[in-house]
Amino acid sequence: MAALTEALASRRIAVCVGSGGVGKTTVAAAIALERALAGGRALVCTIDPARRLANALGLSTLGNVESAVPAERFAAAGLRPRGELSAMMLDVKRTWDDLVARHAPDEAARDRILANRLYQQMSAVLAGSQEYMAMEKLYELATDRDYDLVVLDTPPTAHALDFLEAPTRMLDFLGNESARLLLAPAIGAGRVSLRLAQLSGGYLAKVLARFTGAQVLADLGELLASFHGMYEGFKRRAAAVRALLGQPEVGFVVVSSPAMASIDEARAFHERLRAEGMPLAGLVANRVTPDLWGDAPLPSPGDLASALGAAGGGDGDLARRLAEGLAEHQALARADAVALERLFSAAPGLPRAVVPRLEEDVHDLAGLARMAERI
């Protein structure tokens, strides 16, 4: 068994982190598939899968509810899973709405929040909202269901920090006492401006009105007032999510491609997770150009021409192109090896997997299974 699969064998939750464009979703799906093939009940929760991967998992029609990948898809791929694989897509807005519904003291309070314009924008606009909801969903899946392994694919964050800090930041926003006290008693638009005007000689009111108009402030005041009674519940829940993430049954998997920007981001993630005492399961380097030649001098067009002749013929032009192609391939492989060294040296001793750049994007379960073998 590969080192990373072994490191994940004892975990119930795997969280894949890394920058965008590194194939994180595919890696997450492959990890879940691996467990299903080995006899577990596995779920992968993805954010924004490529169309062909979504098709492979049967997600294109099913969306944000958990659904088992049908047996005929496995059969078509020549696979006989001893367990089950389910997949779902995270719907940020729906997860927010569910959270509000769970914590609201009554239906009126719930409806007031759901109808608030700032609340409606919040899931799209406020930084960290997506990350917060991804973790919220993970908690629900890990505590209310009985999967052997839940694999979470995380949103592509701009900064490694955002992921762990998102809940705290969102809660600071929703639970800001001074803002609530300032705005809550004066929900009418005009009175908000008035109250602000008393604060600091009128300048605050003028400036704010210039920037926002009083309506935005009224919406904000209403939102803060509505959240007030629910804040403690939210906070307890966020603390529970955070505590869960620190458990040894969780394993963070840092995914990277050989691109320098993604390597640097992966190192930042790793550093951050270690500093926070989060349980790391391993590193995955994805889309790596395989070394086909080693360090020996590359063959010349002449070398290739004579070898081609011995192998049943070939023209000089083909020999020249083969020589160029191999040289370029090896240059890419060397560049990738340098990048990987930079990644792996930052985390000595951590299980790692190197997944070669595949010939084509993964578009069926068979392709996913081939990737799983490398993990």
């Binding site: 920058s19 965008g20 464009g21 590194v22 490529a50 169309r51 062909r52 700032l118 924008q121 606009v125 406020l126 592509p156 701009a158 926003f173 800001n176 001074s178 803002a179 300032l182 604060l199 600091s200 300048y203 605050l204 400036v207 704010l208 210039r210 920037f211 108009g213 935005v216 402030l217 904000l220 491609s257 691109a259 320098m260 920007a261 993604s262 030649w293 063959p299 070398d303 290739l304 070898a307 081609l308 192998a311 192109r321 083969l322 020589a323 160029e324 192609g325 191999l326 370029e328 391939h329 090896q330 240059a331 890419l332 060397r334 560049a335 340098v338 990048a339 750049r357 010939e359 994007d361």
Partner: protein, 317 residues
């Protein structure tokens, strides 16, 4: 001269999915403009600075810094842009401090959607209009290494969103000139960058649609970055597969050739797909097998743009 339609503008906004090479393209365009005798400012937007380091210079931070003769860089951040903007609007430092450094106010400024974007785009567009000591514009060209898709839309839509919502007054006045500058094809160009792969192309199509419908900007140019070399004809793939079974050196060389051939074929499919959907002048930039991206790599990308400027030709090779 290279890509005149792009570099003759006053403002070039470079955007696309994360990790596709926006900073590379922005830097290469800046190099070409400097070479054409222009004074250039490259703005990064609240980012881990990449442009100055790529050029071999120290990061600039929030104040413009000359990375190469005639080529300046700056990292536009919300606090610094807010300060500049606030000082411009309020005129007096003491009032600025009272308003913007008040704790409750800072909370509101953070909570108000798009305020950070407003001050950052305001700062960038202000640079385009700024006059230098000689009375000429301070910059001949401002290049924006813009954030990736969703954040770029949020940034660029602020002026038009304000026009829809704020009453007549100084803010509406600001929003008006900002919007006019952004959507003026004589002065402003938007360059999309993508990779010849499925997900980046999907996102490019979404970005193009959002720029048109949400912001009201028609993109000017498309760059497809990291195009693999195309040495082998699709018809050769089966022969290469056979040769891949041979002993070295033919086997490994044919394996490498086959992988390249497949990659080039898939890339060509994605280029065809994005070009069919977008109909923009398109520049293809080579995949460079380099471990260290720096000045030399930028020069090669700039040379590629110079040699084959973006065009509507079906296959500019």
């Amino acid at each position: 001269m290279a890509a005149p339609t792009l570099l003759d503008r006053r403002l070039v906004v470079v955007t696309g999915k994360g990790g596709v090479g926006k900073s590379t393209v922005a830097s290469a365009l800046a190099l070409l403009a400097v070479r054409a005798g222009k004074r250039v400012l490259v703005c990064e937007v609240n980012a881990q600075e990449r442009v100055a380091p790529l050029l071999g210079a120290p990061p600039a931070g929030a104040r413009e810094r000359e990375a190469l003769p005639g080529l300046f860089t700056v990292n536009v951040t919300p606090p610094e842009a807010m300060r500049e903007y606030g000082l411009m609007v309020l005129r007096f430092r003491a009032i600025y401090a009272a308003v913007f450094e008040n704790r409750v106010m800072r909370y509101f400024l953070k909570a108000i959607p798009s305020l950070a974007e407003l001050v950052m785009i305001g700062k960038i567009l202000h640079e385009v209009r700024k006059a230098g000591s000689d009375g000429r514009p301070r910059w001949d060209l401002v290049v924006v290494d813009a954030p990736s898709t969703g954040h770029a839309i949020q940034l660029l839509r602020v002026p038009s969103a304000l026009l829809d919502t704020v009453p007549p007054g100084p803010l509406q006045h600001s929003a008006r000139w900002m919007h006019d500058l952004l959507v003026d094809p004589e002065r402003t160009a938007v360059a999309l960058v993508t990779l010849p792969e499925e997900m980046p192309v999907n996102e490019t199509l979404e970005l193009d649609a959002a720029l048109r419908s949400v912001v009201g900007i028609v993109p000017t140019t498309l760059f497809v970055n990291a195009m693999p070399a195309n040495r082998f004809a699709p018809g050769e793939e089966s022969r290469l597969a056979t040769l891949a079974g041979e002993r070295a050196p033919v086997g490994p060389a044919a394996t490498a050739a086959r992988l390249q051939s497949i990659r080039a074929r898939l890339a060509a499919e994605q280029v065809a797909r994005v070009r069919a959907a977008l109909d923009l002048p398109t520049g293809l930039l080579p995949l460079l097998p380099l471990a260290d991206w720096g000045r030399a790599a930028l020069e090669r990308i700039a040379a590629a743009i110079d040699a084959a400027p973006p065009s509507r030709e079906p296959w500019p090779r």
